[in-house]
């Protein structure tokens, strides 16, 4: 086999930064990275993955955090025969101090391919490619400098939150603190897969949902407010004076027509109609802000398609105050996990269980009363259970 990689080389061109360049940088120091380029080239030629199912590999005392991976043609690509990844739990909000980060990178360069994902799509730092022998040393060395593995397998996956109060005026909850707090509280659930399948928690500070919590987490915590949004008329005036089309781009686009321009003032004329969609706030961040009675809506059930099609999370608690130590949330989550644990089948996510046995069973298990906020609309079919009588 020749070592030419014309297709890889092609992907060094073009304006967008090239991952092939990154592979090549790593290849200067790592034989595994060198082989990886060839693997990739071969995949392009054959239009097929070169990887096999992973075996069970890991670190002492943990059931997750490592994805085992082996090449299907070890003769051809000996340096990536085993090429496992480790998932490193990121700090809340993906903020880094460079000295701490450099320490971490050094460990990885020593023990692995030197390639990583910043970040994986769950939110971990991914160390991409090492052999089984290196796994334990890596873990020992990163814990020694204050880092730990993230989730994989049937556990609580690494929770993530948006940048929130750190740099966003819209944040209605402290996403960073909340995520850090529950990550620490549920270390056991994160590291020792106890559940029927994976489960995820993501928190966004407001309904803009910048971590896509509603689409990507079994528990989606989304900041909101219970009183009225606040309008600063001086701010409104500034927008008007600047020629910004408040009527056309804000008032007319409010999904519930809750706003009105009255004598040059922008008013939340129908406060009870505001569904806190953020649109007017997004458009006029200098003039409009969320209310002051802040908390979160808790939604449950998002996941990818396998098996019954993708789900978005749906409202379970319209409003919950979110103050440390987040006891109300934790109790709710633990009740939900208990119920799922007892009733879920293997590889059944919580939304699939809810679908199978009915929302009412879930609500009973977590001691939550049904409210119309949970549904877009009531059922149309007449197939109703009265197992508690009429």
């Amino acid at each position: 086999m020749d070592d030419k990689t014309p297709m890889m080389d092609e992907l060094e061109k073009g304006p967008w930064p090239s991952y092939v360049k990154e592979l090549k940088k790593a290849a200067k120091k790592s034989d595994a990275a060198k082989d990886l380029i060839k693997v990739q080239e071969r995949s392009f030629e054959e239009k097929m993955t070169m990887w096999k199912h992973g075996g069970i590999v890991g670190v002492a005392g943990y059931g997750g955090g490592v994805i085992g991976r082996y090449i299907s043609r070890p003769e051809e690509f000996p340096n990536v025969q085993a090429f496992h990844t480790l998932r490193i739990n990121h700090p809340s909000g993906w903020f880094y101090k460079t000295d701490r980060l450099r320490e971490l990178l050094d460990v990885w360069e020593k023990h692995g391919s030197g390639l990583c994902n910043f970040h994986g799509s769950t939110g971990d730092i991914i160390f991409l490619g090492t052999t089984s022998e290196h796994l334990q040393p890596i873990h020992d060395e990163i814990t020694a400098i204050g880092w730990d593995l993230g989730g994989s397998g049937s556990d609580l996956r690494t929770p993530t939150g948006c940048v929130g109060p750190a740099r966003c005026e819209y944040a209605c909850i402290d996403t960073l603190d909340f995520i850090y707090n529950i990550t620490m509280e549920f270390q056991n659930e994160l590291h020792r897969p106890p559940f029927p399948y994976k489960t995820k928690i993501k928190a966004s500070g407001c309904p803009n949902d910048c971590v896509a919590a509603i689409a990507r987490a079994d528990f989606s915590i989304i900041g909101t407010w219970h009183d009225n949004l606040r309008i600063d008329q001086d701010g409104v005036k500034e927008y008007l004076d600047s020629g910004f089309d408040v009527q056309g781009l804000v008032v007319n686009k409010c999904p519930t027509n809750a706003l009105e321009m009255v004598n040059g003032k922008l008013e939340l004329a129908w406060p009870e109609d505001c569904v806190r969609c953020m649109h007017c706030i997004n458009m006029m961040s200098k003039a409009i802000r969320p209310g002051v009675d802040k908390g979160a809506t808790i939604l449950v059930g998002a996941k990818a398609p396998v098996i019954h099609g993708a789900c978005l999370s749906s409202v379970i608690i319209p409003f919950m105050k979110m103050e440390p130590p987040y006891t109300e949330f934790k109790e709710l989550w633990l009740k939900a996990m208990d119920w799922w644990d007892e009733n879920g089948r293997t590889r059944e996510r919580i939304s699939e269980l809810i679908d199978r046995v009915g929302m009412r069973m879930f609500l009973r298990a977590i001691d939550v009363e049904p409210v119309p906020q949970m549904v877009y609309r009531p059922r149309a079919n007449p197939y109703v259970f009265f197992d508690k009588g009429v």
Partner: protein, 355 residues
């Protein structure tokens, strides 16, 4: 005995000074220019953010380059966004241009803010996953080269447009609710390695894995294996996920499907799923030209038809999917019509439609 369960570092240590000081006190923000945001605090402090693109799959060297920039201009701190973009935050307005210059020097594009296209959420592809029906990083590179102008702000759009990619139906990017979703798909029934079946797989789990119940016990009681009802198989590959003895990848059959119109934000309209518009485009490495050109077409049709601040899905739902297919010239085929569990709700139960 190894240390365990120490968790990630405390985020508080990781925060830049201006962030720590104004934590929770931000008042409003402004878009200064593409890739640059200004946040103003109630304390009067200002924080300037410079955002740039990244290939996500990076060498430690690139991260160290980023660290260098952070050390020089941002008191040794920086962050990544939820779409993989590095961000440098500084209270000092004068740092903006030097930061931009430093970023460009290491080959990264400044941008990704405002009404354009940010980085693509994506997955492993042929770089690391055994299940990939297409590549990830390679396709992403090809697409982002095409969309570059929308990232750096040379071109703008009616509203943010998110593109994501997953290399198989597991959809690790959870890209089922994104403006443009690129999904690796198989189109051939898995083959069965009867010989290794019992060694490699648990039969009941394998059967249960199939969304359509296509997998049955082998009729011959002497063969401890399964069979697949070809008519019921829609190539999801879930059986292969749980059972290595059912390989499904196929050089000619694998490829890419395009989904359109999803969103996750609750702004104006509720979150929406992305919808299948092109069921299959063959893999064509290294540049997947058919994929990039259909995406480009959709983006341009959106750009010239949507109202200001209307996301792709909002625009399509307003004008109707029949109009979308007409405007883009994408042929409507039987695969576009749902026939899975919630199919009924997608059928048009009204005489209201456009020609």
């Amino acid at each position: 005995m190894a240390t365990t369960d120490i968790g990630p570092p405390d985020y508080k240590e990781m925060l830049p000074e201006v962030i720590a000081k104004n934590y929770g006190k931000w008042k409003y923000h402004e878009d200064i220019k593409p890739g640059v945001l200004k946040h103003v605090s109630e304390t009067g402090d200002e924080a300037f953010t410079v955002r740039c693109g990244s290939p996500r799959l990076v060498s430690v060297d690139l991260i160290r380059d980023l660290c260098d920039i952070a050390d020089k201009y941002c008191d040794g701190h920086f962050r990544f966004t939820s779409r993989y973009n590095p961000e440098f935050i500084t209270p000092n307005k004068d740092n903006i241009e030097p930061i931009i210059a430093a970023i460009e020097k290491i080959g990264l594009p400044v941008g990704g803010t405002g009404r354009g296209i940010s980085n693509m959420i994506h997955t492993q592809g042929w770089i690391h996953c055994h299940g990939a029906a297409t590549d990830a990083s390679g396709v992403v590179k090809a697409i982002m080269d095409e969309m570059y102008d929308y990232f750096v702000g040379k071109k703008t759009l009616p509203q943010k447009l998110r593109i994501s990619l997953a290399c198989c139906l597991n959809m690790c990017g959870a890209i089922h609710a994104t403006d443009l979703a690129v999904v690796g798909v198989h189109t051939r029934v898995p083959t069965i390695d009867h010989e290794h079946m019992t060694v490699l797989c648990e039969l009941p789990t394998t059967q249960a894995s199939c969304p359509t119940g296509a997998i049955r016990k082998h009729p011959d009681p002497n063969i401890k294996s399964v069979t697949v009802n070809d008519d019921k198989c829609m190539y999801c590959g879930n059986c292969f996920t749980v059972c290595p003895a059912m390989p499904i990848a196929h050089a000619e059959g694998d490829g890419i499907a395009i989904y359109v119109g999803g969103k996750v934000s609750n702004a104006r309209k509720a979150p929406m799923f992305s919808r299948l518009v092109i069921p299959y485009i063959p893999n064509n490495p290294p540049r997947w030209p058919e994929v990039t050109s259909v995406l480009k077409n959709i983006v341009e049709v959106y750009a010239s038809n949507a109202h200001p601040f209307e996301r792709v899905g909002e625009w399509i739902e307003r004008v109707g999917w029949e109009r979308f297919f007409k405007l883009t010239g994408i042929p409507f085929v039987e695969q576009n019509i749902d026939d899975f569990e919630l199919a009924r709700d997608t059928l048009r139960t009204t005489t209201q439609f456009k020609w």
